[in-house]
Symmetry: C2
Subunit: 358 residues, 2 copies
């Protein structure tokens, strides 16, 4: 078992990473410290992990809530059902929420914790690779709105994160690919060594070798933690974590959050960001090719959805919250391992990149 | 014009208090600093102040939103309509919300600002005495749930507060009384001098004399600011601000937030807290009588609603978020000007007080 600390002053918290963590009674007992815990998950994850986890961690069935799975349910109605449940069960300000599941569950439960009685504590137990390397760190919580992803939310740090790599064994291969997109992202934005390691070890990750997974997850979380610690509420440098996300969010919104996984959209978004980097920083073609090869091996998409409209995508990019007072912000690379924040990209440059991926 | 500073490190902000502030273009211009502002109010306040304020402060009609007035509309549906508006108008993270109105508007707009794109800035322009002396300071924002008041919310500090005492001229006398309840509260919990001043000057406040109002508002805000600065997220001492609120919230919930104003419920709640103080601290009868006289002169209720059930009220008190892991917390006085936090009040003591006000 490895433990990584996310350093945010009084909001600092540990991330525990390892195989078999969900059976570790002692660690959770010391974390809960005799307080009441409510376990919230979705109906997909529930079939695999709800009963064993609730038993190991001693959570009675009256304190378990199962939400409908899927990004389309990450909305105000589901959030409201969490509040209804907590109030019906008379949960008070000392109650701790446990979010068991992927990014959707983590984002919603974290946001519910941020708002319930103006803020209670929560523990994240991410069960997808993407959630393990992405939403475990940073405290971003929230829900979607028909007009855009994560438009309503809060910064709320968890009390602790438990990452059991065994949970990845029940994950569909497409979701592993989606998680790999974010791992690759950390290599691209600030860890060229991780990128080289991924080129050598991608198949070990796809084969779910516990050691390799723990290494990739720890390295990814550490990179994210370093960036987040320096800029908790995304005023500046933290924006580099959005490499591929500006394009990616537009694709997700255009497809109604249904046909594409978030990591898949980010995977394509990173390819688009690389082409944009070729324009604005003359990023060499061989570097772009190297990354595209890795994304191909990870099984990530290389084309926009059929019948995409460049103008519509541009409009969605403007509607995204990463526009700052009407100015688009794009993350690009001047070389592998170094991200740059760009605020002077023209509409024509964006449209040109979109057309390259039609 | 007086300016008070609420000292919360990087979240510090000024409260401007005076007559004619809503016409002061220079002050708001410097506060907005060329950023886009969206003005949100309710349909009662709109008839008096929306047009003049929007004109003076230069806010186009496309950036004005009018909500339905009243505590019954302080809910998830109205909050959701604010998000819809902001997204439809393509407001970004630099947009500043202006909350023009009473506590309901302030709480909801503040909470919308706390959650919109994970947090944007807002300016409070409270137009009721209660909002001026209460919600201006402390950063508590939120909405009600059928199961209880302010159950969903966030701590989110405003960028600035503009209190124009002239707005009180259009306020019904009942609302002035409700605001006086909170002013009296500050005297009771930590400012015996203010309480004595109120005994001498209550009629000047009821007559809306600008100087007297500015003095009472400034003194109230200063007391609240001192308490809040020492305990921003209500872990400890801040709880004293809840004098009268534990009983008061139960009354408001029992009556569906419709027939009683918040300040009226707090006024009665303070009388109840004084009787409880007689039991637990032997607070002298003459002190209780002195306060009851002042509350009478302020026009605040002295009896529970007809047909109140003590058992039901006790249940509502337990459902309130001020119960801490199943323990009731009550604020009492050991003398006028000094509040005590009590966590060992028995159900029987609470029921006994309730019965005294049937």
């Amino acid at each position: 078992m490895r433990t990584l600390s996310v350093d945010l002053d009084e909001r600092s918290y540990p991330i525990h990473i390892g195989s078999g963590l969900l059976s570790d009674q002692e660690r959770i007992t010391s974390c809960l410290d005799n307080r009441r815990a409510v376990l919230i998950t979705d109906d997909t994850v529930a079939t695999h992990y709800l009963q064993p986890l609730a038993k190991n961690w001693g959570i009675p069935s009256a304190d378990q809530l199962v939400l409908p799975a899927g990004e389309t349910n990450k909305n105000l109605a589901t959030l409201s059902s969490i509040f209804d449940f907590l109030l019906e069960k008379k949960c008070d300000r000392k109650t701790i929420l446990i979010a068991l599941g992927g990014g959707v569950v983590g984002d919603m439960v974290g946001f519910a914790a941020a708002c319930y009685q103006r803020g209670i504590e929560f523990i994240q137990v991410p069960t997808t690779l993407l959630a393990q390397v992405d939403s475990s760190v940073g405290g971003k919580t929230g829900i979607n709105h028909p007009a855009g992803k994560n438009m309503i939310g809060a910064f709320h740090q968890p009390k602790a994160v438990f990452i059991d790599t065994d949970t990845l064994t029940t994950l569909p291969p497409r979701e592993i690919s989606a998680g790999l997109a974010e791992v690759i992202k950390y290599g691209l934005i600030s860890d060229a060594e991780l990128l080289a390691w991924l080129e050598d070890n991608l198949e070990r990750l796809q084969g779910l070798e516990a050691d390799a997974l723990a290494h990739a997850i720890e390295r990814s979380c550490a990179t994210k933690a370093a960036v987040v610690s320096s800029d908790e509420t995304e005023q500046g440098r933290r924006a580099i974590l959005n490499l591929g996300h500006t394009f990616g969010h537009a694709v997700e919104t255009a497809t109604g959050y249904q046909s594409w996984l978030h990591g898949e959209a980010v995977g394509l978004g990173m390819r688009m960001a690389l082409n944009l980097s070729a324009t604005v920083h003359a990023l060499p073609a061989d570097q772009i090719k190297r990354v595209n090869n890795l994304l191909d091996r990870a099984g990530l998409p290389a084309r926009l959805p059929p019948a995409s409209s460049p103008d519509e995508l541009l409009k969605l990019i403007y509607a995204d919250k990463k526009t700052d007072a009407g100015t688009l912000t794009f993350i690009t690379l001047d070389t592998i391992g170094n991200a740059v924040i760009n605020r002077d990209i023209t509409d024509e440059q964006v449209l040109q990149v979109i057309r390259q991926f039609l």
